[in-house]
């Protein structure tokens, strides 16, 4: 499933980041920021308008991602 579909508070693990078009700089940035296979992630908060952006906890870091950005990240539910 996609990170943007993950329910709030549900633990999950990153599979991979998909480019939404060729040489997608946003996907590359996400990989640089540690969205790589095996990292535990969790959506801890959502923005007040349209539940956007998402606050994503990955490891010891908190990132604010817009839904369209989070949709590039494939995750599997459950830790590890």
């Amino acid at each position: 499933m996609r990170l943007s579909e993950l329910p709030r508070g549900a633990p999950a693990t990153v599979d991979c980041v998909e480019d939404s078009h060729t040489a997608d700089p946003i996907a590359q940035r996400l990989r640089d920021l540690g969205f790589v296979d095996g990292e535990p992630v969790c959506v801890t908060a959502v923005g007040p308008l349209g539940a956007d952006p998402l606050l994503v906890q990955i490891g010891s870091t908190r990132f604010a991602l817009r839904r369209s950005e989070a949709a590039r990240v494939n995750v599997r539910q459950g830790a590890g």
């Binding site: 939404s20 700089p25 946003i26 590359q28 940035r29 996400l30 990989r31 640089d32 920021l33 540690g34 790589v36 296979d37 095996g38 990292e39 801890t44 908060a45 959502v46 923005g47 007040p48 308008l49 349209g50 956007d52 952006p53 606050l55 906890q57 490891g59 010891s60 870091t61 908190r62 990132f63 604010a64 991602l65 817009r66 369209s68 950005e69």
Partner: protein
């Protein structure tokens, strides 16, 4: 490399404390705050190590990766690789890492290691790490990384001792570059996971207190309520806390002027210059120092606490709809103090398109230089009465002027969004830092800095313009047998009367027209110019000088006052702002666009305000 000077570059992820460390080492006073992207240029300082060697330190903007995404990350990459124009690569790279958040910081270190230069890792914020029960096996980390590792606490005196000792010694041997760098960056993340598993114990990923605070601060309803309440509190405080101090300054200036000129004949030019020019003009602006300091006090505390990126999170959706990004919140908030640091802070927006839009709308945020104009007019024309039992009507009006600025910024950004051709997706991707207790010393230093900048402006450009205006308003003198105030015959008076043709439809009298011209240099000069013009126009009564508010309350209609307020919501920018836009965009076109659209908006808003107010009254 010379034998005695060692060039050291400080690098690391954003918000890991590089600048605090830089200040600690060099005794510098660079700005530190708790959000990513405070340092937007390379900064340099030097200090002498115990061995007598001179160390030259370069503080670089934070970077997550050398695959540079933003202009400031490019600076960092270019300096480290020796590609920065006119600068050799550093002799030593100190990679600073936040000990409470090592994951991405260590990955960046792996990237730095690949440059093949001597590297030292400084584990910063060790005090916080210990408090949170994070255990780091430093010898093990050092062994696995193959680079020297030292512990630092950049915000504490003496907290960088271990680092100084290390860099003062022999250069560490160049770390062996990993053979598998071709295997890609995913591999580096895996390496980091291994490193962390072997050398770091974390009781929990983030501080429990931060999670609890975020549950409130980021809550869809409470979060927005807290943000709105906070903003409202700031504006109420600016208006009501400063009052007694302002009265004191006003009285003091008037008394000083009277005392200094008591020996001079009242009809002499020097008497007029001192009283009408310097004390009426400069005094009218000096009075706003307390308000500006209160505004900065709040901004500094918010910056240090780590709350600002939370506010950016809450507002991203709204700002995105308007064609901006949540990241623009921090530069725009800084613009409430002054558009110049605000426009410079846009460098932390790594997207060129979002950045340009932010630069164009930043001057619409009500900067502190507009505060003197607002306060003068509000105090003179808006009755001090309670609204809904608790709020002061004057504070409410001030608040709505700020809101008008914000709304017009959103509107202009929206128009820019509709006009531009590039509709591709641009990312938010923003890290939220841990909360931090603001340091009294940093806040005090920040306030001191703002106070000196303000006073230098008052003593420099403002004083010069005021004296110049006094000359223009005094010469040539009236012809013999002239009736009416002397200023009518002077150069300034003629200029004011000429401009009056343009500004009469929006309700400005010729005195305001004169004041608008020096107001282009710095907006608050408009107030000092009014002070001078009215002091000069008064026939034989210099007492009026100190009570500009009383004079305009008698002479202007409410419609004129409201029209001038509307004018200053949009006010064509000061020269310094235009110069910064030119520097940051490297284009005269954007300078012309922003000056032009603001002039048009200002004229239109004043025209509407004046005509409507006249019909209603």
């Amino acid at each position: 490399m010379s034998a005695s000077t060692l060039r050291i570059a400080l690098v690391g992820n954003p918000n890991c404390g590089k600048t605090a460390l830089f200040n600690q080492l060099t005794g510098g006073r660079q700005k530190v705050a708790n959000y990513a992207g405070v340092t937007v240029e390379r900064k340099e300082g030097r200090f002498t190590a115990p061995s007598g060697r001179i160390l030259q330190l370069i503080d670089l903007p934070g970077a997550y990766s050398f695959e540079a995404a933003s202009p400031d990350e490019q600076i960092t990459r270019d300096v480290c690789t020796g590609r920065y124009p006119g600068e050799a690569a550093p002799d030593l790279i100190v990679c600073v890492a936040d000990a409470t958040n090592l994951r991405l910081h260590l990955r960046f270190l792996l990237e730095v290691k690949q440059l093949g230069r001597p590297v030292v890792l400084a584990l910063n914020m060790m005090d916080t790490a210990k408090r949170r029960g994070i255990e780091i096996d430093v010898p093990e980390l050092q062994r696995r990384l193959g680079v020297p590792v030292v512990e630092t606490v950049a915000v504490r005196r003496g907290g960088a001792r271990a680092l100084i000792e290390r860099v003062d010694g022999d250069l560490p041997t160049v770390a062996v570059a990993d053979g598998d760098d071709a295997a890609g960056r995913g591999n580096q993340h895996a390496q980091v996971r291994e490193l962390l598993a072997a050398s770091v114990r974390m009781p929990r990923a983030t501080a429990a207190l931060d999670d609890a605070l975020d549950r409130w601060a980021l809550h869809p309803v409470f979060g927005l309520t807290i943000l709105a309440a906070l903003m409202f509190l700031i504006f109420q405080a600016v208006f009501s806390w400063a009052e007694p101090v302002m009265d004191g300054i006003e009285g003091g200036m008037a008394a000083l002027g009277a005392w200094l000129t008591q020996g001079l004949p009242p009809d002499s030019a020097l008497y007029s210059l001192l009283n009408d020019g310097i004390f009426a003009g400069v005094g009218a602006v000096l009075v706003f120092l307390p308000q500006i300091l209160i505004l900065f006090l709040f901004i500094l505390i918010l910056e240090e606490s780590g709350y600002l990126p939370r506010a950016a999170f809450l507002l991203d959706r709204l700002m995105f709809k308007a064609g901006l990004t949540g990241r623009a919140f921090i530069p725009l908030l800084s613009s409430f103090a002054c558009a110049i640091p605000g426009i410079m802070a846009t460098r932390s927006i790594n997207d060129p398109r979002d950045r340009l839009t932010t630069i164009l709308v930043a001057p619409l945020m009500t900067c502190s230089a507009r505060l003197p104009v607002y306060t003068l007019l509000i105090a003179a024309f808006i009755p001090r009465q309670a609204v809904a039992g608790v709020f002061n009507l004057q504070g409410v009006v001030l608040f709505s002027l700020y809101v008008a600025g914000i709304m017009s910024a959103l509107l202009v950004a929206y128009v820019i969004k509709r006009l531009r051709k590039d509709k591709s997706e641009h990312a938010l991707l923003m890290e939220l830092p841990a909360y931090r207790m603001p340091h009294l010393r940093d806040v005090a230093l920040g306030l001191w800095e703002r106070a000196t900048i303000f006073l230098r402006r008052v003593g420099g450009i403002l004083l010069a313009l005021t004296v110049l205006l006094w000359f223009l308003a005094s010469f040539p003198g009236p012809p013999p047998g002239a009736t009416g105030p002397a200023i009518d015959y002077s150069l300034a008076g003629r200029l004011g009367h000429a401009l009056h043709y343009v500004f009469a439809p929006i309700g400005f009298n010729w005195q305001i027209c004169i004041a608008l011209v020096p107001g282009l240099a710095a907006r608050e000069v408009a107030v000092s110019a009014l002070g001078t013009v009215y002091a000069m126009s008064a026939v034989g009564d210099t007492e009026l000088a100190s009570q500009l508010g009383t004079v305009i309350a008698e002479q202007w209609s409410l419609a004129t006052a409201l029209s001038l307020l509307a004018w200053y919501v949009f006010a064509p920018q000061c020269m310094a702002t235009l110069a910064v836009i030119r520097r940051e965009t490297n284009s005269w076109r954007y300078v012309a666009i922003s000056a032009g659209y603001m002039f048009a908006l200002a004229y239109l808003a004043s025209l509407l305000t004046y005509q409507i107010a006249r019909v209603l009254s």
